[in-house]
């Protein structure tokens, strides 16, 4: 029984790792830079593992959500700054995910994505309103495993694995690409892997599912096995693009082009599976980000939050989620290119990262909250090193974006 629980958690973590940000950024980067930026994805992976472990541990030990503790620890002013920045970035991510679901449905049905948008928004809200939390999370995560078809396609392409591995571990910027753009996309990949909402979703989700100290081992297995495998999946998406799109000089500016290598390597049915994966991954992420917006506001103000109580008992929380979804859906309906929204959302995620991760570092160190489960020295050393890295990426992101005109 325990084994099934662990397996489910790991599979959900793999399928849930990839969202529209990872899809678009890895596909785009693979087609342009090959695997020479894989190191940025791997760095992001290490970072998200560290911080997801900390947030999950905080939830299991304190039974409290992130923003609840952030305001306590940092005070109302810093907490509010944190809330506003996190909320805006996460709301932008919700917008990108809703756009992503609509684009995926367009791929599946050839019906214009705009027509799908209102229905997607409604359906996301409906699932958050009615579906039990664990079903919501596990369902989307498991269906997202359809993206494994990218690994299958990679295998079918019979690549020179040695050459691929060499590209990953001895990165070389392609000669015709400029260094600023190279680092701009490194930050984008980093921001796509280390999404800020993951921290509050993981910790709030832990409270939703009633994690306690005895669940810590399972939580760690989910993170340290599930996430790396999810990152491998992201790299497979990049590798497919590198092998099929890059030699042909095809640049990625639509979701369909990201699926192209799968169709090329493994046929129409494989493409259909990939599209199913797109829908599942983006829909799942839309649920997570929508909930995260509600969690952050409700926890800062001390409102009752969560799906573990009846909606009537958490009225403001559910209305906050509803309003976020309405605004996000409206934004997608303005017909701004969803792929472009996604690209901006990952860069702004990188900008907001220090604000969202610093409080978790402080809280997971606090013996008053964590008791004997506070950070050990190794964890602190790694997490502090990452904090420096995050600050560097955050500070460099906007200047690079302006300088390279968003990566041109």
């Amino acid at each position: 029984m325990k084994f099934l629980q662990v397996a489910l958690g790991i599979l959900t973590a793999i399928g849930g790792f990839v969202d529209i940000g990872d899809l678009v950024t890895n596909g785009l980067v693979g087609a342009r830079y090959g695997l020479s930026l894989a190191w940025a994805t791997l760095l992001g992976l290490v970072g998200i593992c560290l911080f997801a472990e900390m947030s999950g541990r905080v939830a299991a030990v304190t039974h409290r959500g992130t923003f609840d503790l952030v305001r306590e620890r940092l005070g109302p002013r810093a907490g509010l700054a944190n809330l506003v920045a996190s909320f805006l970035v996460t709301a932008l991510t919700v917008t990108a995910e809703i756009g992503g679901v609509a684009l995926s449905l367009e791929l599946a049905t050839s019906v214009n994505y705009i027509l799908w948008v209102p229905m997607v928004g409604l359906f996301v809200w409906l699932v958050i309103w009615r579906v039990k939390f664990s079903i919501l999370e596990n369902g989307a995560g498991l269906l997202g495993l359809a993206l494994l078809v990218f690994g299958f396609a990679l295998w079918k392409l019979h690549p020179d694995y040695g050459s691929l591995v060499h590209q990953v571990f001895v990165p070389q910027k392609p000669p015709n690409e400029r260094l600023p753009s190279y680092f701009y996309y490194a930050i984008a990949l980093f921001g796509a892997a280390m999404t800020p909402y993951e921290v509050f979703f993981f910790s709030s989700g832990g409270v939703e599912e009633g994690w306690s100290r005895k669940d810590l081992m399972i939580e760690r297995l989910n993170v340290f096995i599930g996430f790396p495998l999810g990152a491998v999946l992201s790299l497979a998406i990049a590798a497919d693009a590198a092998l099929v799109l890059k030699p042909r000089g095809i640049e990625v500016d639509s979701l369909g082009q990201i699926g192209l290598p799968v169709a090329f390597a493994a046929g129409k049915i494989a493409l259909a599976v990939a599209i199913l994966g797109f829908v599942a991954a983006t829909f799942g992420a839309a649920l997570e980000t929508g909930l995260s917006c509600g969690y952050s506001i409700a926890q800062y103000f001390g409102w009752q939050w969560g799906k573990f109580v009846r909606p009537r008992q958490a009225a403001r929380f559910h209305v906050a989620v509803l309003l976020t979804l309405i605004i996000a859906t409206g934004f997608v309906l303005t017909t701004i290119d969803p792929v472009m929204i996604t690209e901006y959302s990952v860069v702004f995620s990188a900008v907001a990262l220090p604000l969202t991760y610093f409080p978790i570092l402080v809280i997971s160190n606090d013996p008053d909250y964590m008791g004997d489960k506070r950070n050990g020295r190794l964890m602190n050393a790694l997490a502090s090193a990452f904090l420096v890295l995050i600050v560097v990426a955050s500070v460099a992101a906007i200047p690079l974006m302006l300088w390279t005109r968003a990566g041109q």
């Binding site: 409290r64 109302p76 001390g302 009537r312 009225a315």
Partner: protein, 130 residues
């Protein structure tokens, strides 16, 4: 030097302000947005009540932002700032526990309004997601 205190010691900013307030059933009530003092007979200050809500919080945020939040909040409600008398407080730990039930407190007018006018009208609001 004063004698050793024979009551528990709390630093307000560290231990009380911004803490989650729970009712006797462990349900979330609010945050300690501010604290109100009253003067004792000997001139000492005693903690009298927890102040709740955006207007109370705006004083702690301070500056122009605080003033702006306060002006919006005042437009939405002209009643007194919601308060929980400290007599209701039962235990101070990682959260502040009250001896009363959440529904008897009446410190969340927005929650009540939203529940009545929006959430109750949507089907399924009474069921736990199952």
């Amino acid at each position: 030097m004063s004698e050793k205190p024979h009551g528990r010691v709390f630093d307000l900013s560290l231990h009380l302000l911004d803490r989650q307030v729970l009712d006797r059933d462990g349900r979330m009530v609010c945050k300690v947005d501010d604290l109100e003092f009253e003067r004792g007979a000997d001139g000492s200050l005693y903690v009298a009540a927890i102040l709740v809500g955006q207007r109370a919080l705006s004083h702690r945020i301070g500056g122009r932002l605080g003033v702006w939040i306060r002006s919006i909040a005042q437009r939405l409600s002209t009643d007194d700032v919601p308060r929980i008398d400290f007599a209701q407080e039962d235990d101070i730990g990682s959260a502040i526990k009250l001896g009363a039930s959440r529904d008897s407190l009446g410190v969340a007018p927005l929650e009540d309004w939203v529940r009545e006018h929006i959430v109750s009208r949507v089907p399924g609001s009474r069921h736990e997601s199952e």
